[in-house]
């Protein structure tokens, strides 16, 4: 499945992601990591801890609706993999981010922006492994 190269809108999206991360630190003193926010919803430390996480996730889910209101179209979600791969991949991602302590937003953006050695190593590791996995799935197994 081909996708169009979209440097400017992707750059703007990246700046908004960074703005969200900055504002969450400014107002709530928290790292904008999807893994941590989600895990905290499953295992809340307290009622007020659960509340800000739920409000943030509700905002995230509203994102595509704002895009729809402004542009007249839902953001594209094209899924080129089978349901089995979605489920197996999701399960592995869940285990991996729990042990790894973060994902693209937590380690890749917030941690790297703080020049955290753990985040730089984590991000480097998952980028290389993802690259290898996609190569194996698409070009070795031809999936």
């Amino acid at each position: 499945m081909e996708t169009e190269f979209t440097p400017w809108i992707s750059l703007l999206g990246g700046v908004l992601i960074g703005l969200g991360a900055t504002l969450l630190m400014l107002f709530h003193g928290r790292v904008m990591g999807a893994t941590g926010i989600l895990a905290g919803l499953v295992y809340p430390a307290s009622k007020s801890d659960f509340a800000w996480r739920a409000a943030t996730v509700a905002g995230m889910v509203t994102g595509p609706l704002v895009v729809l209101a402004i542009s007249g179209a839902m953001p594209a979600v094209q899924v080129p993999v089978s349901t089995v791969m979605l489920l197996v991949g999701g399960l592995i991602v869940g285990v991996g981010v729990t042990f790894g302590g973060g994902c693209t937003s937590g380690h890749g953006v917030c941690g790297m922006a703080r020049l955290s050695p753990r985040s730089i190593v984590a991000t480097g590791t998952f980028m290389v492994v993802t690259l290898a996995t996609v190569y194996v799935v698409r070009h070795v197994f031809g999936g």
Binding site: P7, S10, G18, L38, A39, T62, P64, G90, T130
Partner: protein, 146 residues
């Protein structure tokens, strides 16, 4: 006010993820498919997000406290261990198989696509599974302390 701010901040993040392409598995997988239908767009996402956060954090950490809290809760650990690297490698395998990461999937739920709900459900099962394994290991008296 505190929760409203969190909601608005989540929305900004969700719009960013939505327009950047991070919520679209086809675009994510093509970014990594350098030997195939390569789409380098995600470099611009990471670049824009990193530079903005780097500058933003510098400004924010000039303050003593966050607006609604007593302290900035930032991870302090600097050591590298097998758990960090192994976990990140596992995440990479899962991301390469499914094309969704947690930060991409949560905003994508707003599109109402069933595939995103399926992925997110599996993601939650994975998180719970890993936490269960962890707490079981922690209960063993001679388990190594991490």
């Amino acid at each position: 006010m505190r929760l409203f701010a969190a909601y608005v901040i989540g929305t900004i993040f969700g719009v960013g993820i939505s327009i950047s392409g991070m919520a679209n598995p086809a675009k994510v997988l093509n970014f990594f498919d350098v030997a195939g239908a390569w789409d380098p767009s995600l470099i611009f996402v990471m670049g824009g997000a990193l530079v903005t956060t780097f500058i933003g954090y510098k400004l924010v950490f000039g303050r003593k406290t966050p607006v609604f809290g007593r302290e900035f809760l930032v991870p302090q650990r600097r050591d590298l261990d097998a758990r960090l690297i192994g976990g990140s490698a596992l995440f990479g395998i899962g991301w390469g198989i499914a094309g969704f990461c947690p930060g991409g999937a949560l905003p994508a739920l707003g599109t109402g696509r069933w595939e995103v709900f399926a992925f997110t459900a599996a993601l939650l099962v994975g998180i719970i599974l890993a936490r269960t394994i962890e707490s079981a290991a922690a209960r063993k008296p001679n388990a190594p302390q991490s």
